[in-house]
């Protein structure tokens, strides 16, 4: 599993939000990693945080902003020239294969889960991480529920916009249901046939 704490330091951050609450945090604020805030909607690096990202309105605020795919395609040149970090939101089923090299421009990509049953963003996340080597923050938004979070982490999500009460409680209390062993070899998870050997070695 990707370590949530190993977030993606992006140079040239203009975010003026520092971690609060006296806990140990990174020395410099990270874009996409807001201040710790129990009422914040973003679960990232083991805590709820306020969301430092704005959603694109008219005009664009001078701070980290998330734009839609449509807006990116329409205003690509203008957006490319902006100094502030840029995020991209993709609705379920929206393509990434034609964004290719542009993806490196985004410090955050948010993928939407419109319903519990709509699992398209799981595959989009895999493509982003594995095919396009996207290393920025990958945020799950929409129907983010406790029973999905373990799967989301395993396909490469490292932040979660969570409004569902029971899921927020489960995250805060460390009660996210998860089977910690997995059978699927991926770029992040060593094949189980390798881990079986390790298990056999340690127990003998």
């Amino acid at each position: 599993m990707l370590d949530e704490g190993s977030a993606h330091r992006i140079n040239g951050s203009s975010v003026g939000l520092a971690p609060t609450g006296g806990t140990v945090g990174p020395a410099l604020p990270l874009p996409g990693q807001g201040a710790r805030d129990p009422a914040g909607t973003i679960w990232h690096a083991g805590a709820f945080r306020s969301d430092p990202w704005a959603h694109a309105g008219e005009p664009l605020p001078d701070r980290p902003v998330i734009v839609s795919r449509q807006r990116w395609l329409a205003e690509r040149t203008l957006l490319m020239a902006r100094k502030a970090p840029l995020g991209l939101r993709l609705e379920a089923g929206e393509r990434v294969d034609d964004l290719g090299p542009d993806l490196a421009r985004f410090s955050l990509i948010a993928l939407a889960f419109p319903t519990f049953a709509d699992g398209r963003a799981f595959s989009t996340a895999r493509l982003l991480r594995d095919k396009y080597a996207y290393r920025g923050e990958l945020r799950a938004v929409g129907n983010v529920l406790s029973d999905l979070i373990a799967f989301m982490r395993r396909v490469g999500f490292d932040s979660f916009e969570v409004t569902h009460g029971p899921t927020r409680r489960a995250l805060s209390e460390g009660r996210i249901p998860e089977v910690t062993l997995c059978y699927q070899p991926s770029d992040r998870d060593a094949p189980h046939w390798v881990r079986r050997r390790r298990l056999a070695d340690t127990s003998s």
């Binding site: 699992g119 398209r120 595959s123 594995d130 095919k131 396909v155 249901p177 998860e178 770029d187 094949p191």
Partner: protein, 545 residues
Amino acid sequence: MYRYDEFDREFVRQRVAQFRDQVARRLAGELTEDEFKPLRLMNGVYLQLHAYMLRIAVPYGTLNSRQMRKLAHIARTYDRGTGHFTTRQNLQFNWPKLADIPDILGELASVEMHAIQTSGNCIRNVTADHFAGATAEEVADPRPYAEIIRQWSSLHPEFSFLPRKFKVAVTAASRDRAAIRVHDIGLELKRLATGSLGFAVFVGGGQGRTPIIAKCIRDELPEADLLSYLEAVLRIYNLHGRRDNKFKARIKILVHEIGAAAFSAQVEEEWQRIRDSALRLPEHEIGRIRAYFAPPPFEHRPSKASLRPPERNFERWVTRNTHTHKEPGYAIVTISLKPIGGVPGDASAEQMEAIADLAQQYSFDEVRVSHEQNLVLPHVRIEDLRRVHARLQAVGLGEANAGLVTDIIACPGLDYCALANARSIPIAQRISARLAARQDAIGDLKIKISGCINACGHHHVGHIGILGVEKRGEEHYQLLLGGSGAEDAALATIAGPGFGPDGIVDAVAKVVDTYLLLRASANETFLAAYGRLGPAPFKEALYAR
């Protein structure tokens, strides 16, 4: 057969603990039924007409005696003493209490079983030829590959919320007993041009309301590439399969709408990208799994035992219910779960225990579940057949009808199922009773009955198929003719207007009478005769005044 190691045991243990917590929260009222539903479905728990139903995975239909005894114990302790074997080689219990289900799952875990992915829009329990590892017709045992797929598909993080359920079947024989051409993915293990083992890959078959025969999208897939290729197929499907309409969400619709060539091209592109990733199966891993399925220590001694004794019941049973084994001196035994007039696929706790004893004593501890809702003892010495038959007869399982007209597939239907429009079981029982006396004369004839359009009873691929529908509040049945789920896969066509519950039994009898009258010889099967004659004479018999 496969045995869990520490890794598998811990995986299932965590899953049971997780579900125990979810059930506790449901019973305490912390979870509503709506919130609980997707969680229970991922663990094989359905809410049916009268009670919860628990569907237990029997991976590729293989069980040992310990597992069978455990199923008997569960039937007796937590159900009403009966289990129901399904067309997906699984077992269903129809009367468990929700509060007991975590304990049942715990009992199952103790014999290396579970109910994971027996429902939901995920990769379901992988099925395989029920004669695998025993039939002389196969190039190699397909079960190691089915096990590799089972592991890869278990709680797959990317493919647990597919557009719709996804079923994979594997065979290694030219005679297709696994119905691979009516699965989302069908794999035929074969020798490639290089001489190595690999697969022909069929995609987009299925039944339901839009039956389609699968297309072969890759004729030669090396075995090392099995998982990367499957992952490519599933990724294309997960991204592009329809989600706007539940009835158009299976992969068969995607393949049909964009065309097999275009679908295959997309898969190919993705596959080439991931082919050399961590998904490539190392030889040692295939070898590790294959070792679990090593042939049992057969005694090499061609049998001198007589197979043509004077006792007629035994002779009939040997003729119908045993098949040629790859090892001389052994036979494959089909245990019919279709006693005349009985409920197809049901087995009592006592019967399960008797079968477990037989497996242990006479079949190297193995039992198989067939998709035709029968059980199989795969490795029985020919000289033991008489004893096995006698023991089966003693528990009411000696019927010599495998592949005959009374060996009927039927879904649970309106007797249990919340989706059904009509009952299936009583129709099967009445047809069985009606035709039993003539079944030997009729010969090979597969009748398959579904109680609704979802086609769990495989009516599209029945030589004679029956589909229960609702017509003005009454149970009504369509009659279909000429289907096959085997290597000559074909979809049955509707004969004409449907029938009521009495009429459908008469109609099947008329079709059979017409066949007996018109067949070229006793060797011409129903399906062959129907192919030669076409539907006309059957329609004439059914509908002419």
